[in-house]
Structures are given as structure tokens and as C-alpha cells.
Amino acid sequence: MRMWTTLGAAAIAASAMASTASAKDLVIGFMCDRTGPTSVTGTTLCPGYHDYVNLVNSKGGIMGNKVVVNEIDHEYKVPPAVEAYQKFKTQNAILVSPYGTPMVYALVQKMAEDKIPGTSAGFGTALAGNGERYPYMFPIAASYYSQAGAAVKFAKDQLGGDLKGKKIAYIFYDNPAGREGIPILEKLAPKEGFTFRTFAVPPPGVEMGPQILDITRRFRADFVISHLFGRAPSVSLKEFKRAGYPLNKVVGFVWAGSEGDIAAAGGWEAAEGYNTMHFAGVGSDYPVLQEIRDMYKAQGKEEPEAMKFTAYYNRGVFQAAVHLAAIENAVKAKGSADVTGTDVRDGFYGIKDYTLGGLLPPLQVTRKDHEGGGWVRIFKAGKAGYEPATEWYRAYRAEVRELLEAEESHLKK
């Protein structure tokens, strides 16, 4: 046992020395899960992140300083994420990007103590957007509350501007994250005069025939809001199709509409009309993506396979863009690359009118609101790809805020 510890300690010490970055580099600690249960997302999202950072570096970095991304794969497990975070700390990271809801929560307290900011786009609860409670964590993407509000607004617009007497079905993956949309629907139902019913899909979410028959035959929903993850969205599409339900009356939350899901459901032809919500634009027609393709061409390389799956790839680009914008603001404010985590945190507050040609929503992060406003955009499955169905928008902010405040006061008790 003694031998093992000394060997282990020696290996750790050696590597800590080997990977210390020089002072000029701006170091980001980036967690990812290219392996593990959610690797479908990670293998597409992480290349997007690296590509954008490389693009910025190829153009001279941030005011002449190179951005170094240290990636650690944690297999969606908590202890390796804790290890990874400490590792990033030894590398003097000025920003750490945790990945996955449990990892975000396991690190949020530590990051505030160490004054290292991070983002958790797509993870965590709606409460995580409260900047006073979590001063160093920035969800930057619309929470499930905001998504539920936006989904109701979308249903309203699609059903002729009035929801009175309409029936909305909420089909969700039966875990706490899946249930998170319900309170907003409960709040909006009496206000808008619609009735809604919830339909739980038990994990692993590959069997939902009865629920969908229930929605389409017995409940006869006018509109369906679908909050599913993993394999479940593609199964739901097939089942809706089988039940003869029009897919343009279905809107999915942010994890229910990647290109992979569409392909698994039988391709674009089969999924035509299906609406999904996104916190980063999907599709390939963005100037920044063209720049990345040009960068690959200039290097004489093929563009990566991941670029075809724009739903997650673009989220990687989105995260990288927000991170680098915050760092750039910090470097500008400081006048040198010698920035601390707190400087970078303050850099987030300076992000404004920064959309990379529509890939990013018009985020506006404030000290209170780390969610950035709760922007989403809905895309519709067309014949050969996603087509935008709305502009960037948000809805029912007053109700969302009211609910958050009620929950916060409940927590303080």
C-alpha cells in the first residue's frame, strides 16, 4: 500500500509540473463527457467548443493572448469531476465549465469559495439563475421554467392566439428535471384558460405507446409540449406518427431535438413539422460556422463529422463564444492578460448585443439574473433540415419570476 501511494503521488507531482501553463495563456478548464451515459451530446458538443476557441486563437487569440482549453472527460460521474476541477485549479484556470447537473451542484459551492466563474448551460434548476445565490455560476441558457413559458406562448400563437378551452398535454421524462416544467404550466393554465394534463414516461424512456395513445385518443390534446431526453424524443416522434398526430402541434424542449433524434425517428421526411426549442441556433448558415469551415480548409483538413449535428455542435460554439466574450471583457477591463476569476465573472455582465450572426440569443446577464433573460428560439423540422419557426423570444417573464421568488423564499425558511 505504501508503494502504491508513493507511486501515485510521484505520478501526480510529475504531471502537475508538466502541464503548468505560462503566464500569458488564458486557461479554461473544460469538462466534457465523450464517454459515459450522455456521450451522444458530449462527442458533438465538445468539438464545437474546441473549434471556436481554435478559430479565435488562429485570429490572434484574445488581444494577442492565446486561449488554452484543458479538457477532462468525467464520464458523467461526480468524483472525477471534483478531481478535474482541482486539476484545473492547479493549472490556474480563470474559468471552469462543469458539465452535467450533479457535477454543477457538486462544484458550485467550491467555485464560489475559490472565486472561479463557470457556466452550466442546459443544466441545473431554474433557481440556478439567481446570481445572488450563486455568484460564480452562469446558466446562460433558458431554464426549464423559461422554456415552459416559451412553449405555452408558442402553442398560443400556433392555435390562433387564444388558448381558452384548449387542451395541452405535457409529456415528460419521469425524473426531477422532467417534472420541472409543470409548475409553470400550473400557473399559466388558469390565466390562459387552457386545461393541461401530464404524461410521465418512465426511464429509460423507450416505451411510451400507451401515453401517446392517451394523449391523442383519450385526452385529444390540441397541443403537446414534450420534455424528453436521450432516446426518448425519437421514440415519441415515431409513436406520434403512428397515432396519426400532426407533428407541427408538438414542441420539444431543448434536449428533445438534435439531428440525431430526427435521424433515429426516421429522418427529416418522417419528422417534418416537429418543433423544437433551442438556446443556441441550429443549422449551418451562420458566419461563424463558415469561418470554422474555412479554418479547416486553410489547414487542409476535412471538416469534422460533428459539424453535421448542429444542435449540439452549435451549443459548444455558443458556450465557447460566451466564455471567450467574458474573458475578453475581463482582459479589456484589466488592460492585460493577468486576469482573475472575479474579473472574468464581471466580464459576463458586460456581454451585450453579441449574437455571432444569430447563433447566440441577445443575452443580457445581470447580477441578479444569470440566466441571461431566458431566450429561446423554435426551429421546425423541414424537408432537409431545421428551419427557424420563430425569432429569439421569451414569454411570461413575470410569471417565471414570481414562481422563482416563491421558491426562493421557501428555501430560505
Binding site: R2, W4, A14, R34, V78, E83, P102, Q109, P176
Partner: protein, 355 residues
């Protein structure tokens, strides 16, 4: 050569009963204490202490599972579920009732033990792989209950945030403080297990594992001791869950999924079933090996590849190498790292006069 085992005459019962009878083992224990309680906190960086803290938590959990699987011979793949019981018990006690932190550790353990006793009841009738499936059911049922009861899980994403632990007004928020706390608990768990194993209960466990009918014939109540095994093992698991909760500042059911149960099984199988040192070595091995592989590949791989190409290769390769190493170790020594250590020790025991 280095030490002699002969010439140690026990002249009273006290010496006969002592936990570490040989001078060499007392010396080794002293050295360990010096190493982990004095040298490590003084010399190691925050990062290294974090690694050791994670190992210390894993040691407690692995010991618990080894008591059940290794000593009592009852296969369980629901270990992580008992951890979650402990974790949520402690988190609820601390946030809702303001129970002092030190009390929540045994409280979490006892609650997990109570649940473990219930899960252990089928063990009288079913054995081996069938029992494993019963414990698998427990894993899913406990996960489901936590997930669907806001009164247990706190409602929001089924996770409860808690403050850093305080002992008598002293807040443990530095890596060193947390490490000292965790390694103390791990040491208590190790010594506790050592004592348990050489007691009447421990011997009954081994008897049941080796041949339960024979054990019953010589007067051991099989049912009672099987339940003990489940209870004690779950107690350890519950404590592990509490430690995780305090270490991370959150109780979340996603930290205690089936994969975690399998990880702990891997620890004790690699380390050595029915061995305390094996549990410790297994915890070290499973926790540190992926990190070691990554470091190795980062340093070697950066000679040939660009960083972002390396990133995607490392994650895949790490899984392959990790799996391969486990297989190699098991082929080399099916009885685990503990046996490997014993072989080394036995060699040096008579070295250089091996006849």
C-alpha cells in the same frame, strides 16, 4: 530477514487479543498514521489531498461492501442505493432540523442500516446471483422513491444543498480540513472492520460464506447473521453517502446510480474479496487509475498529437486501457491486489534464504 515472527510469546489474554500482535505490524500502522495524518496534510497540495479525500470516501464504501460480499458472501449490487439513503437522511436532518453535523453521520448510517435490513430479508431464501437481482431491485426502488417524494428529496431536481460541515464552530472548508476529517473516518472504518472480522460476528460471516448449511449445523443463526451483514454493510454505505454529501455540499440521487454500485463491486473484486487491505487497495486503484492513465496519455500523447485530437482519443483510450488493466490484474492474480501484496510480502519474509 527484516523482521521475525517467531519469539513472540503471548503471556496474557490481553496480548493474545491485541489487534496488532507483531512489532512489525505495529510499526507499519504507526508509519501509516504518520504518512496519512502528518506527512500528507503537511506536504501535499490541495489537488493531491482532493484525490486522497475521494479515495478515503471510497475506502469506507468499499469496506462496507466487502463485509457483505467478501466476508458474508452475499452478492449485492444495490450498494449505491444505501449510500443515497444515508446522504438524504443527513441532508434532511441538517437542513430541516439543524442536527449537529457529527450526529448526522451515525444517523445516516443507521437509517441506511434499517433499509438494508429490509432488503436483506430475502437473503434467507435466495442466494448468489438471484440475491444480486433482488438487491438490484432495491437499487431501483430506492432511487424511484427518492426521486418521487419531494419530502425526502427536497423537490428541486431531487437534490438538497447543505452548508460546509462545522465541528464545534470550526468550519471545515479547506481541502486539508476536509481531508483530515475524511481520513479519520476512513481510519475508524478500517479499524472497526478489523475488529468486526475477528469477533464472533465476523467469524459467523465467514462460516456462512464458506458453507451455510455447515454453519447452521454448528449453531450459527444464518438468518440473523445474514441480516447483520446487510445491516452493517448498509451502515458503512450510509456513512459513505453522508461523507459524499458533506464533501460535495449536495445530496443528489444522480451521484448514486447503478454505475456507482458496479464501481464499488469492481473495487472489492480488484482489491480482493474478503480482505480489508484489499478494499483499501481497490479504492485506491479504481479511483486513481483513470487519472493515472489520463496523465500518462497526456504526457506521452502530446508528443505525437495536437491537444484537441488528443482529447477525444484520451477519453476513449482511457476506457479501453482501464478495462484491459482490470482484466490483466485479474488474470495475473484472481484473488486481487491483496493477494499480490501477500505474495510480495511472503517473498521478502524469507529473503534472501528462500529455502
Amino acid at each position: 530477514m527484516f523482521f521475525r515472527e517467531s519469539g513472540e510469546y503471548k503471556t496474557d489474554y490481553k496480548r493474545d487479543m491485541t489487534l496488532y500482535p507483531l512489532p512489525i505490524s505495529r510499526f507499519a500502522v504507526g508509519l501509516m498514521v504518520l504518512l496519512f495524518f502528518v506527512a500528507a496534510p503537511l506536504l501535499m497540495s490541495e489537488y493531491q489531498l482532493t484525490l486522497l479525500s475521494l479515495v478515503a470516501i471510497a475506502v469506507v464504501g468499499a469496506l462496507g461492501l466487502n463485509i457483505l460480499v467478501g466476508y458474508a458472501g452475499q452478492l449485492s449490487i444495490g450498494h449505491a442505493a444505501f449510500m443515497s439513503v444515508g446522504a438524504y437522511t443527513a441532508a434532511n436532518l441538517v437542513t430541516k432540523l439543524d442536527i449537529p453535523f457529527l450526529l448526522t453521520i451515525p444517523a445516516g448510517g443507521l437509517m441506511a442500516a434499517a433499509v438494508g435490513l429490509v432488503v436483506g430479508i430475502p437473503s434467507l431464501r435466495i442466494k448468489g446471483i438471484y440475491l444480486a437481482i433482488a438487491t438490484l431491485a432495491a437499487q431501483f426502488i430506492i432511487e424511484w422513491i427518492i426521486n418521487h417524494s419531494p419530502s425526502i428529496s427536497g423537490g428541486v431536481q431531487a437534490s438538497i444543498e447543505i452548508e460546509r460541515p462545522t465541528i464545534l464552530g470550526w468550519k471545515l472548508d479547506q481541502a486539508v480540513e476536509l481531508y483530515m476529517f475524511l481520513v479519520t473516518i476512513a481510519a475508524i472504518a478500517i479499524v472497526g472492520t478489523q475488529n468486526l472480522i475477528r469477533s464472533r460476528i465476523g467469524r459467523a460471516f465467514v462460516a456462512i460464506r464458506d458453507q451455510d448449511i455447515a454453519a447452521e449445523i454448528i449453531g450459527i443463526s444464518v438468518f440473523k447473521y445474514k441480516l447483520y451483514a446487510f445491516g452493517i454493510s448498509s451502515f458503512y454505505a450510509g456513512v459513505t453517502g453522508v461523507l459524499y454529501t458533506y464533501y460535495l455540499g449536495i445530496a443528489s440521487y444522480e451521484q448514486f446510480t447503478l454505475v456507482v454500485s458496479i464501481d464499488y463491486l469492481a473495487m472489492i473484486i480488484i482489491g480482493g474479496l474478503g480482505s480489508i487491505l484489499g478494499s483499501v487497495l481497490g479504492a485506491f486503484f479504481i479511483t486513481l487509475l483513470p487519472i493515472g492513465i489520463r496523465l500518462f496519455m497526456e504526457n506521452i500523447g502530446s508528443l505525437f498529437l495536437e491537444p484537441e485530437a488528443l482529447a477525444s482519443i484520451i477519453s476513449q483510450m482511457r476506457l479501453i486501457v482501464f478495462g484491459a488493466l482490470i482484466i490483466i490484474f485479474l488474470i495475473m492474480e484472481p484473488e486481487g491486489l491483496n493477494r499480490l501484496w501477500i505474495n510480495i510480502r511472503n517473498y521478502f519474509r524469507v529473503w534472501p534464504f528462500s529455502y
